[in-house]
């Protein structure tokens, strides 16, 4: 039966080529736009560490003064001051915890005649690598003791290792970062979580390449490396950030059960109450957000991208309405044919099925140019100035989703015309002829 409907549908579509082409092209435009924006949305809202994101929590306390504070409304600051980060770190209330800031690392060349260059650096504490599952190719990370003793060590990325040492193990060798000789103790495998969740709020970009060097926080600070982002609540001597009234660190904790999360939240509240009692703090708010929540709060998916996705689906809706109109016009024109088929014994269901098959064919036919339009759209996205531009590619999932969307959209468009067609009474149509 399906073969017969397919045959009828193709015959009907061929009979009115212009109308068929119109339907296919408009549907394809709508699908292309939707798939383009969906791909970007999926890219941006991806989970950077799917196996672990539910156990990673971003902690916030607020050392700011009463200036501009509205109780219950003001959210705690995104960053932490050095004393608080160290207090939380040393309290060891989570399985793992790390404080971090981004920095520009000036790296000296190994050979004479080459120029020094700046790379993205992370100043952090020992648990960073284990907590974020950063994989090592050679060597490993540093210890909490190295943090405290300001050990002159560094972990470098695979791309920096390739650039400086041609990819061979550089563990034990020395590089000069910000005029300080540091011993390489680990080389990472390629590691660039998208979005770069740990850089949120620290002043770095959210997407793109990973960082080049990772240094113990106190070692880096002793080498006078400054954070990318700092915020001070009073005019301050920013050359001594450790004691200045400034926030500049992000703080992450690993907590693996609801009980641990509740306990840690309580710990944070207690800590803040204690600081208020000491007169250091004024604001009592704390926050503990898991990684997905933190990315949502940080609006890592820009409003513009959501708006574009909304627009694209509005556009698809219009394309579907357009297809409904055109299919309906076609089907009404074939009232006589339907009348004849009904008179010869075709059931309503059969007529309905026939028109749905026809709509489905239009959908599948629209999927292919839809794919072309989506590729074209993504090509345009890749040439935009956004950070994520280079990452916008159609993957296998989106490839199949394109045809699924095409089929579903065309079937929805086909429902009304097919239903109308199946309602036509055989007699009246025959009489009119």
């Amino acid at each position: 039966m399906f073969d017969y409907y397919l045959n009828l549908a193709l015959r009907s579509l061929r009979r009115n080529k212009v109308l068929t082409a119109l339907m296919i092209i408009t549907l394809a435009l709508g699908i292309g736009a939707s798939i383009t924006t969906l791909t970007v949305l999926r890219l941006l809202s991806g989970d950077p560490l799917p196996q672990k994101s539910a156990q990673l929590f971003y902690a916030q306390v607020d050392p700011y003064t009463r200036d501009g504070y509205v109780p219950g409304k003001t959210k705690p600051q995104r960053l932490m001051a050095y004393p608080d980060a160290m207090n939380l770190l040393h309290a060891h209330q989570a399985r793992r915890q790390a404080a971090m800031a981004l920095t520009d690392a000036k790296i000296a060349p190994l050979h004479a005649g080459e120029h020094p260059f700046f790379s993205d650096g992370v100043m952090t504490t020992a648990d960073f690598f284990t907590m974020f599952d950063a994989p090592f190719r050679y060597g490993g990370g540093w210890t909490a003791d190295d943090d405290e003793s300001r050990a002159q060590v560094v972990v470098i990325s695979d791309f920096l290792n390739d650039r400086l040492f041609g990819g061979a193990s550089s563990v034990g060798r020395t590089i000069r970062v910000n005029d300080h000789d540091l011993r390489i103790i680990g080389v990472l495998k390629p590691w660039a979580p998208q979005p770069r969740f740990y850089a949120q709020g620290l002043g770095g970009r959210s997407y793109g390449d990973g960082d080049a060097v990772f240094l113990p926080l106190q070692t880096a600070r002793a080498a006078s490396m400054d954070p990318q982002n700092d915020d001070c609540w009073a005019v301050a001597d920013t050359s001594k950030l450790e004691t200045a009234p400034c926030i500049w660190l992000g703080f992450w904790a690993e907590l693996s059960s609801d009980g641990e999360v509740a306990a840690y939240r309580q710990f944070l509240s207690n800590y803040v109450q204690q600081q208020i009692a000491l007169g250091r703090f004024y604001r009592p708010e704390v926050a503990l957000s898991d990684l997905p929540q933190w990315l949502r709060d940080e609006k890592v998916v820009p409003d513009d991208v959501r708006l574009q996705a909304g627009l694209a689906f509005g556009f698809l809706l219009i394309c579907v309405v357009n297809t409904v109109g055109l299919l309906l016009a076609k089907c009404l024109r074939r009232s006589q044919e339907i009348g004849v088929r009904r008179a010869l014994g075709a059931t309503r269901r059969a007529i309905f099925a026939q028109f749905m098959v026809e709509a489905g064919i239009v959908g599948m036919a629209g999927g292919l140019p839809g794919l072309v339009f989506a590729e074209l759209g993504l090509w345009c996205i890749r040439h935009q100035p956004a950070e994520y531009a280079g990452l916008a590619h159609l993957d296998v999932h989106m490839f199949f989703l394109t045809f699924l969307v095409a089929l579903v959209a065309s079937m929805i468009a086909g429902l009304l015309p097919a239903w109308r067609a199946s309602l036509l009474a055989p007699g009246s149509q025959l009489k009119a002829a």
Binding site: V18, L19, L22, M23, I25, T26, L29, G30, A33, R66, D67, G68, D104, K106, A108, H115, P116, F117, F118, D179, S224, A234, V235, A236, D237, T238, S239, P302, D303, D304, R306, L307, Q308, L311, A312, G314, F315, L317, I318, C319, V321, N322, V324, G325, L326, L328, A329, K330, L332, R333, Q384, P385, A386, L416, R420, A433
Partner: protein, 410 residues
């Protein structure tokens, strides 16, 4: 043209007519809001900076070995840059208009007041107003004996020695008017720290902040006489003639590199590029929205062409009869044009309501202002035009139907 026969015909094609109306309405709603969004973006991109943008260059350098005396280093660099042919003026500044990252201070008018009055951006550095090209409206410019080295000031902050802090400031007209509405601001005090007030000695015409996201606060700007010394966050700003920019930029970078071949030039660009980069997302969004509007109008036009062609084909015989009964070609043409006009008008009316609803949704979810009424007629005229253009082809074909068709049986 009599509209009643059109209405009675449409009543017989209720479903298709409604679909067309719905399509026009949806298009109208999206187009109204999209045009509004484009307008918003363009308006943002037009934000005035108050500086001579086409005459300015920005250079940032990072030293590989930290200079023993950064103030001397900066003075040497500025002197070097002044000697580059074509350079009119050189400034050093901790930040530049539309540069993105910004240094801000909390302003109090009384050091004892518990809450800040507002937050303003603070430019630190020498020669800033002259080089950037912003006019002094009243008072005087900063003089060399106003300036304090940043390290001295920092020490003064820690020790509480108020003599080693700057004592004067320049502010913009907008900031002066916000702090002391309708009054003379010269000689008044602004407190950034609880101990020392900065006396307003001059009022600048306009100077935009580096991170001007909120137009209402874009001009809350102070220039404070702090000497920063050479470091990688410091910018050299060069004023030159617009046509000399490329040449001067290359020569200036070469001069700085020659002074120390090991230093890294991290930023070298004209202010046109600074502005372009700051507003790049707005430009991209405006481009995408324009594309969406174009695509929507094309799809809707194609839909109208399709349905109108179908109606013309279906009514060939009726048209023939009308022609045989004396209707002229232009009668037939006008019939289809009027029919389209009626449908478009209904669609537009429905679309306006939808546009309003969509705007309400956007207002709650994307912090957008209310859609001004002027955008409604824009959408309406666009859709009427598109409708008439789209229907012209099929209507002309209808007008070309010869009367003799009436005599043929189908």
């Amino acid at each position: 043209m009599d509209i009643l026969p059109i209405l009675s015909t449409l009543r017989r094609h209720k479903l298709t007519a409604w679909l067309l109306i719905l399509e026009i309405a949806l298009t109208c709603a999206i187009v109204c809001n999209a045009v509004f969004l484009i307008g918003q973006r363009l308006q943002r991109m037009d934000m005035p900076s108050g500086v001579a943008e086409h005459e300015l260059l920005q250079i940032q350098v990072a030293d590989v070995t930290t200079p023993s005396n950064p103030y001397a280093r900066l003075a040497e660099d500025v002197a070097l840059l002044r000697q580059v042919p074509g350079v009119q003026s050189v400034a050093s500044s901790n930040q530049v208009p539309f540069g993105g990252s910004s240094s801000n201070g909390n302003i109090r008018l009384d050091p004892a007041q518990p809450e800040r009055t507002l937050s303003a951006t603070t430019y630190f550095g020498e020669n800033i107003p002259q080089t950037l090209g912003t006019r002094l409206v009243s008072g005087r410019d900063l003089q060399s004996d106003d300036f304090v080295d940043v390290e001295t000031a920092m020490k003064g902050l820690s020790t509480g020695d108020s003599k080693s802090l700057p004592h004067v400031t320049l502010i913009t007209q907008t900031l002066a008017e916000r702090l002391w509405p309708g009054q003379n601001s010269l000689g008044r005090l602004i407190y950034l720290t609880p101990t020392v007030g900065l006396r307003v000695v001059g009022v600048l015409d306009s100077l935009v902040r580096p991170n001007a996201f909120d137009p209402a606060k874009a001009q809350f700007t102070m220039v404070v006489p702090l000497r920063m010394g050479a470091n990688k966050d410091q910018s050299y700003v060069i004023r030159t003639r617009p046509e000399d920019r490329a040449k001067v930029l290359a020569a200036a970078v070469a001069a700085l590199k020659k002074a120390d071949p090991d230093r890294v030039v991290t930023t070298r660009r004209s202010f046109d590029e600074v502005r372009r980069k700051f507003f790049q997302d707005d430009r991209a969004m405006a481009g995408i929205l324009t594309g969406v509007i174009a695509a929507l109008l094309i799809v809707t036009a194609l839909g109208i062409v399709g349905l109108a062609s179908f109606w013309v084909a279906q009514r060939r015989r009726t048209i023939g009869v009308r022609r045989a009964l004396g209707a002229t070609r232009s009668n037939i043409l006008h019939y289809f044009q009027t029919e389209n006009f009626v449908l478009a008008t209904l669609g537009i009316a429905l679309g306006m309501a939808l546009a309003f609803g969509m705007n309400l949704f956007l207002m709650t979810h994307y912090e957008l202002p209310r859609l001004p009424a002027v955008y409604f007629p824009v959408g309406a005229v666009l859709l009427w035009l598109i409708g008439q253009l789209a229907v012209l082809g099929p209507a002309l074909r209808a007008a070309a139907v010869p009367p003799v068709v009436a005599t043929r049986s189908v």
